[in-house]
Structure formats: C-alpha cells, structure tokens
C-alpha cells in the first residue's frame, strides 16, 4: 500500500507559514492590547478571540465572502498575483491563520502583561525608548511563554479541517491538507491510510504540546 504523503507536507507548510504570519501579527496586536489604551480595545480583543468560538462553517462563509473571486479583496489579489486566492493552498494558510491568531494573541498578551512592571519602569527611567524597552527588556523576559504559545498555535494550525475545506477545498495534490485527507480516506473506506495519517498527526501534535509545556516558565 502506497501512502501519499503530500497532504502531510502541505499541512506542515501551511501551518508554518500561517504561524509565522500569526506570530508577527499576534505580537503586534498583543502589544497594543497590553500597553495601549484606545477606544474599541475590548472589541478588538473580542474580535480576535471570535474564531475560537464560532463554528467553522461561519468562519468559512465569512472568508468566502471576503476573499472570493467576486469580492474586492479577491479581485485585488487576482490583479496583483494573477490567480485567485480561494481554492489554493494560500487560502488554507488564511484559514489556519484564523485559528492560530487567537491563541497567540491571548497567550502573548498574558506573557507581556506578566513581566514585572518595575523592569519596564527601570528601562524608561534609564532613558530607553518604548521600542528599545520592548525588544530588549519585555520580549526577552516573556519569550518562553511566547514560544510556548507559538508551538501551540502551530499545532492548532496543523489540524484545521472545516474552514480549510470551505475556502481551500479538497483538491488532491493541491489543497488537500492532512485533516481533509483523513476525512477522505475514511469516507472511501481506506482504513490503512486513515490510521497512518491519524497516528502521524497525533504524534506531531503530542510532541508540539510537550514542547510548549517544557517552554512555559511556571513549570517547576
């Protein structure tokens, strides 16, 4: 029996790209939430958390409306890159991003806020700009929690099913991620393939969560 490993590689690639994007976007949003006072802060916080609670079909629907070929954003994408966004692996990245971001923002914000405020006061008192303070003091002191959150976000990005199916579809060899491939294998009675992929995904996720636990700072 030959197993097609493409879905696994695709999933890893999608998870990697979406986690990287979520890392920088999440860091920025978490910084705003942790340090700035502005109108609509609560709304931003809630909006970022929304993907954790909404059904995948709702999210998928939003993305299709927002990024579909008829939408302004979809058209813009098509003009710039010459091909549509939906039903490509890049759409799967957007789907995974949506799930990675809330985890990253929540944990990163908590990590930034847990840094002793006296270190930040000391840095300001010593003449450090907010930029220098963030990169040289706050971030180094919070990096363990942030990396733990990144590992968690990566694991979550790896396992998305519903939204990916809706916006990227199920095109074998092009947009079929591992979660979708398992669904396919089960549906078509291909038990051996399903079992192998399930096992591999579980082991990868377990390893990532163990890593996340190792990294979290309050481990005794």
């Amino acid at each position: 029996m030959a197993i097609d490993w493409f879905p696994l590689w695709l999933s890893l690639r999608v998870a990697l790209v979406s986690t990287a994007l979520a890392f920088f976007a999440g860091l920025w949003i978490a910084y705003l939430l942790a340090n700035r006072q502005f109108r609509g802060k609560d709304v931003l916080d809630a909006a970022v958390t929304l993907p954790l609670v909404l059904p995948p079909t709702v999210l998928g629907y939003y993305l299709l409306v927002l990024l579909g070929r008829a939408s302004p954003l979809g058209k813009l994408w098509e003009t710039i890159f010459g091909s549509p966004l939906v039903f490509t692996w890049k759409a799967a990245v957007v789907a995974a991003l949506l799930h990675a971001l809330p985890l990253l923002v929540k944990s990163t914000r908590a990590a930034l806020e847990s840094v002793d405020r006296n270190y930040e006061r000391a840095a300001r008192n010593l003449g450090a700009s907010e930029w220098k303070l963030f990169w040289r003091v706050t971030l180094p002191l919070a990096w363990r929690s942030i990396f733990a959150a990144t590992a968690l976000a990566f694991a979550r990005a790896l396992g998305d099913f519903g939204v990916t199916l809706m916006v990227a579809g199920n095109i074998p060899g092009r947009t079929q991620t591992v979660a979708v491939a398992i669904y396919d294998a089960v549906e078509s009675g291909n038990g051996a393939v399903a079992r192998t992929l399930v096992l591999v995904v579980s082991v990868v996720a377990l390893a990532l969560l163990t890593l996340a636990n190792r990294l979290s700072p309050n481990r005794v």
Binding site: N118, A123, N125, L126
Partner: protein, 361 residues
C-alpha cells in the same frame, strides 16, 4: 536642586478611601529623607518626580529643567527626566549580566564614552569580578551596588531611592549605607530617600520630611524632629515616645515652671508657652530620658511609683515597661545593661521624670 510642588487626588472608591497628596519640597545636595508610614504617599512622590505618575497640579523643577508644570502643560516622559531611580527590589534586568545592565543604561551617553564609563562604574563600585554574571548569580551587596551604579551612569541630577534597605539583613544594610555615603562624597548627586525606618533617617539624612496622609507634617534634621516633634501625630509616627494624657495644673512664666497632673501624681515641668491652666495635653517623653530607682519610702519630687510589667532585651540596653500611678497604658523606660544589673532586684520601683525632658503636645 529639586523643587517640587505636587497635588494629586484619588477619588474614594468602593474598595478604598480617597487620598490627596498635597505638598511642597526641596532637596539639595546630600540625602533628604522622606519618612512616613505605609500609605502616606511616599512612593507616589517619587513616582511623580520620576514621571511614572502625572500629578493633577503643581510644578517640578530640577535645577533649570522643568519636569512638570501643570499650568504650562509640561509633563516630560520618564526617559527625559534624568532622575536615577533605585527600586525597592532593584529591578536589575534578570536576563542581562551586570555589565550589560550598566551598558543598557550607558546607551544614552555618547558612543565613545560608553565603554569607559561602564568600566569606570564597575571599578568604583567594586563590581569587576561579578561583571560577567547575572543578577541572581551575585551577592545581595553586589546587586545593590550595581543598581546604584546603573542609576548613576547617566549622570542624573537627582537620585530617587524607594525604601532600598527594607527587608535587608544588618550586614547588607550597613553595606548599603556605605555605598550611599560613597555616592554623597564622590558624586555629590542629591538623593531623595523614602523610608519608614527612623534609624535609617539618622544614619543617612541631613534633612528629614515627615509625610502623613499626603501632607508634610514636619521637617528638619532627624535630631531636631526627635527632640521637638511638632504635634501628637508626628510623635505617634516616630514611635519613640511615651505619650501620657495629663492636665496642666499651674503655669508660672516668671519662674519658668509648671505643674502637670499625670495619673494620680503631679510632676514639675518647665513653663509651656501657648498653653493655659486646665488644658488637657499629652505629655511626651522619650524612654531613654526617664530614670528608675528602687522605691524608698515616699516618692520624691517628679517620681511616680510603678510596678514592673516586663523587661525586654534591646540591642543597646534594656526596655522596661511599667504600669501604675493611675496612668493608663504602660510607661516605657530604656536603661543600660549595667544599670539594669544594679537594679534588677528592686522590689518596688519609682520612675523619675526629669523636668527638663518633659514636652507637651
């Protein structure tokens, strides 16, 4: 020189009473001590000067720089104030070595100077050996000195210290005072030190400001404050007095005498200007100014018979607590060890109140 006039109010909330800070202070060369109980607003003063907190009204002037001026709408960010701050827990960056901590602070100096400046500070504060280690790997004394060095490296015009010796053992405390004396002699930076420890005021302070409930209730040298507490509140805060309810019986300005009713006995004191016969006042006398003797028949003038409740060992003598003479609450007397050895077998005691030691509040 620092000149500050500050006012900041916090409205009462369901979980806390309201609070208003309203004071004026100056700090010149040497150490100015801001003394007061917890919740008096001491740290708020430092934070306002350092720029972590914005007052509602007032003006803060450090030499020629206006740090804050409510009327002119000036509120400099902490980065631009050039006040060194020694935090209670030092706040040395835990992920940097001591050298890196100093280098971080030196970055506001011109590039060519930085390296020399860091080495200079490491040398002055005897930190060369520990320079490559992180704060948790060095001794408490080295952490202190590093924190002071880091605060001084940018040549601040003022050093703010927030209860830096609280929670230190005696050895570290002594080292810390030594380091501050070094700052005074080598750098001449004016220091504003917050504490609730009276001993510390005497150890370091040339000028002492007593803060209570957001206001300065008395200022002067530590000695003068202890000799002449301005009011009952200050005397209570200092915690160094016997405070006894009494009544003025007679006042004689001509012979500079007075008589005071304390419990069941009368004491002779000096004339108390500004008081009237019949006034109910608080007699304020320090435990080390009182003397004790074995009772021998009728008590003499200014002596009150009393029963010894307990004797407590103190580092510099014995603290005796007495009751009796119709005085509510114990009367505390501090005597030397040798004196106590002579008198410990007394069966009955009298307390002598020297008339020149009596103050009324």
């Amino acid at each position: 020189m620092l000149q500050a006039r500050l006012r900041k109010s916090f409205a009462p909330r369901p979980d806390s009473a309201g609070f208003t800070l309203d004071l004026e202070l100056t700090a010149t060369a040497g150490v100015t001590v801001l003394f007061g109980p917890s919740g008096a607003g001491k740290t708020l003063v430092l934070d306002s000067i350092a720029g972590f907190v914005q007052p509602d009204e007032g003006r803060i002037l450090l030499e020629d720089d206006i740090l804050y001026d409510a009327a002119a709408g000036v509120h400099l960010v902490p980065q631009k104030r050039n006040c060194g701050y020694v935090f209670q827990n030092y706040a040395l960056f835990p992920h940097m070595t001591l050298r890196e901590n100093l280098a971080f602070a030196a970055e506001r100096r011109p590039r060519l100077e930085r390296h020399r400046r860091v080495n200079d500070m490491l040398d002055k504060f005897r930190l060369e050996d520990a320079a490559g280690r992180r704060p948790h790997e060095v001794s408490g004394g080295q952490r202190q000195r590093c924190c002071i060095a880091r605060a001084l490296i940018g040549e601040p015009k003022l050093l703010l210290l927030d209860e830096p010796a609280t929670g230190l053992d005696a050895v570290l405390r002594a080292e810390f005072y030594e380091a501050l004396r070094q700052v005074r002699s080598e750098f001449g930076t004016p220091m504003l030190l917050v504490t609730h420890d009276l001993t510390e005021c005497f150890e370091l302070g040339e000028e002492m400001l007593i803060l209570h409930g957001g206001r300065i209730v008395q200022k002067g040298t530590p000695r003068s404050v202890l000799d002449e507490p301005a009011n009952l509140e200050v005397a209570r805060l200092l915690g160094a007095f016997n405070l006894l309810d009494s009544e003025i019986r007679t006042l004689d300005p001509g012979r500079n005498t007075s008589r005071l009713q304390v419990g069941e006995f009368e004491l002779e004191g000096p004339y108390f200007p500004g008081h009237l016969k019949g006034d109910h006042i608080t007699l304020c006398v320090r435990p080390e100014q009182l003397k004790v003797f074995a009772r021998n028949g009728r008590p003499g003038p200014n002596q009150i018979p009393a029963d010894l409740l307990r004797a407590v060992e103190r580092p510099h003598g014995i603290r005796l607590e007495f009751s009796g003479g119709g005085i509510p609450g114990p009367v505390r007397v501090t005597i030397s060890r040798a004196e106590y050895e002579n008198q410990r077998d007394n069966r009955e005691w009298v307390i002598q109140f020297p008339s020149d030691a009596l103050r009324v509040l």
